[in-house]
């Protein structure tokens, strides 16, 4: 402190200070606009992207039979039915596999797991799995489902690969939903002599369901948009039948990729039209998630 008193001459900084305020505030305004622009550029590009895809694809999307016919060698004929059916089947299997396992794992970690070194490892492991690239899950799926279990490049291999890919996200969101359930609810239940699992199934789970469902739907819509892992597992770009669980399969993103890579110009429009179908599917799923959150959330 002593030193600051000695530098008396430095006190005239105050005049410099007030002189600059206007300039500094102007600079502040300029930067506020820069920050806002930075934020809006992303949204602007999103709008541009959607506009471009609708311009390229809407006419093709509206051709009769686009959603209901088999693909064709000609860009302006045929449809994307096998891809639509594949994607819906993939989505169903992913839900059936990941929801019970994901919610079960979340319940275990939130309600049962003791505080021990190995539970910490399981937790770190889950957050790391959430960051593993999709294509690496493809390698896992290829090794385990295609070869080890012998399914080959079938829809079930792709679906189980997507399930493993979605699992960490579902566990994380389900845990957040379960953690948000007030402890008073559990204690009230225990106080009446109800056992642990009955407390969970009758009180904790119903309370957490909106949050869990939102997480589930968001991660399913990611899985439906994923292509990299399915390429590795062996999804095909051309199919003329609706696949079963143990047959070769497609998916909407794979159909899009397959259309993009063909040189004839018309296929770009077919790709854009397929993108419209995929985005619509994802939009509907997200709409359902928002509806569930609004409708069932308990405040």
């Amino acid at each position: 402190m002593a030193t600051s008193y000695q530098r008396d001459s430095s006190w005239d900084l105050s005049t410099e200070f007030s002189d600059n305020v206007e300039k500094r505030e102007t600079l502040g305004k300029v930067f506020e606009i820069i920050f806002l622009l930075g934020l809006l550029i992303g949204i602007f590009i999103l709008a541009l992207l959607l506009f471009d895809i609708f311009r390229d694809g809407i006419a093709r999307f509206l051709t009769p039979g686009f959603l209901t016919e088999n693909p064709s060698r000609f860009p302006d004929q045929g449809g994307i039915r096998p891809a639509v059916v594949s994607s819906i089947l993939l989505g169903i299997v992913v839900i059936v596999v990941t929801v019970p396992i994901g919610v079960g794992a979340a319940l275990y970690l939130e309600e049962y797991a003791p505080k021990a070194w190995w539970t910490a490892i399981v937790e770190i492991n889950i957050s790391n799995l959430a960051g593993v690239p999709s294509i690496v899950y493809g390698l896992l799926g290829l090794g385990v489902f295609n070869y080890l279990l012998g399914f080959g490049p079938a829809l079930i291999s792709g679906a189980l690969t997507l399930s493993l890919l979605s699992l960490p996200v579902i566990i994380v969101t389900a845990r957040e939903a379960i953690r948000a359930v007030p402890d008073s609810l559990r204690n009230a239940s225990y106080g009446l002599g109800v056992t642990k699992w009955r407390t969970i199934s009758s009180h904790v789970l119903p309370y957490a369901i909106p949050g869990i469902l939102t997480g589930v739907i968001i991660s399913i819509s990611r899985a439906i948009g994923d292509a990299a892992s399915l390429i590795v597992v062996g999804a095909v770009g051309f199919l003329t039948f609706n696949p079963g669980l143990f047959q070769r399969f497609m998916a909407l993103p794979i159909q899009i990729y397959s259309y993009i890579t063909r040189p004839e110009p018309g296929f770009a429009n077919a790709a854009a039209a397929t993108i419209i179908a995929l985005l619509t599917l994802i939009l509907v799923l997200n709409g359902v998630a928002i509806y569930i959150r609004q409708r069932f959330s308990i405040n």
């Binding site: 502040g28 506020e32 920050f35 806002l36 622009l37 930075g38 934020l39 992303g42 949204i43 999103l46 992207l49 471009d52 895809i53 019970p100 396992i101 079960g104 794992a105 319940l107 275990y108 970690l109 049962y112 797991a113 399981v122 492991n125 889950i126 957050s127 790391n128 799995l129 960051g131 690239p133 999709s134 294509i135 690496v136 899950y137 493809g138 896992l140 385990v144 493993l164 699992l167 566990i171 002599g193 056992t195 699992w197 968001i218 819509s221 990611r222 439906i224 948009g225 994923d226 292509a227 990299a228 390429i231 590795v232 062996g234 999804a235 990729y257 993009i260 993108i275 985005l279 994802i282």
Partner: protein, 313 residues
Amino acid sequence: MQNPNFQDDSYQRSRQSLEKNPSEDIYEKIIAVILFACALVSVLTTFGIVVIIFQETFGFFQEVSFAQFFLDTKWTPLFAERHFGVWPLMAGTFLTTAIAMAVAIPLGLCSAIYLSEYAQPKVAAILRPAVELLAGIPTVVYGYFALLFVTPLLRNIVPLEIFNALSAGLMMGVMITPTVGSISLDAIRAVPQSLREGAYALGITKLESIFRVVLPAALSGIIASIILGISRAVGETMTVLIAAGQQPKLTINFAESVETMTAYMAQISGGDSPRGSLNFKTLYAVGALLFLITLALNIVSHWIANRFKEKYE
């Protein structure tokens, strides 16, 4: 307990019903075991990734030496004259990632700063989900947009090859913006209001408080978001596969076609190479490298983010 009123039969019976029912007890234990098994699936997944990837990678390195993989500068595993130098793939990955981060860091930070420091809460409630929509668009769609919209547009200004690192990197950057923005926003919001108020009390302007107080205080969270963004960019596949091309080159020229590690993996797989062949094993060798790089980035990001959390809570 010595009250004679309670020593009748009905008391004994009701007491019994309150005691633990053995079958109920077993039921509870079975449930706990099932839930534990669910949690175990994630551990098994990691175990599976490590065992399967490194088993095939081990096979790869029995045929191709470390020196060939890490010192050669050519990547031509599908040609007659085979070279297995991974650097061209690393260079392609590095180039597209660098371009992506040059887009994602400024856009993500601007979004985070505006949403936290300037936007009215109601405006932020609309704008934040709007930005996060960018992350929900499938990556194949960004590939389409990069190849068929961005590239033709840029070719009016800069001479570019049809497949080039620039368009793919730019779109990947837009895609990653919400990753950087979201985590940075949380870090910036975690800076206590008292720090800003203390700065204002010293006569500082809002902008100066952002650059001299808020951002330095949130720095670890921001760095964590950037590292996570890099990890996403390194692992991204479809955009680079579609828009950046499939020509492994040791270059930093963004106008040229390059091949990333992920794009090579997508190119080689899909049933083209039979199991046990050397091509099949290169898929896993490159995959192992990709896995290790992204794992390291994720761990570092997580570690930095956790350090900053402890600071203010």
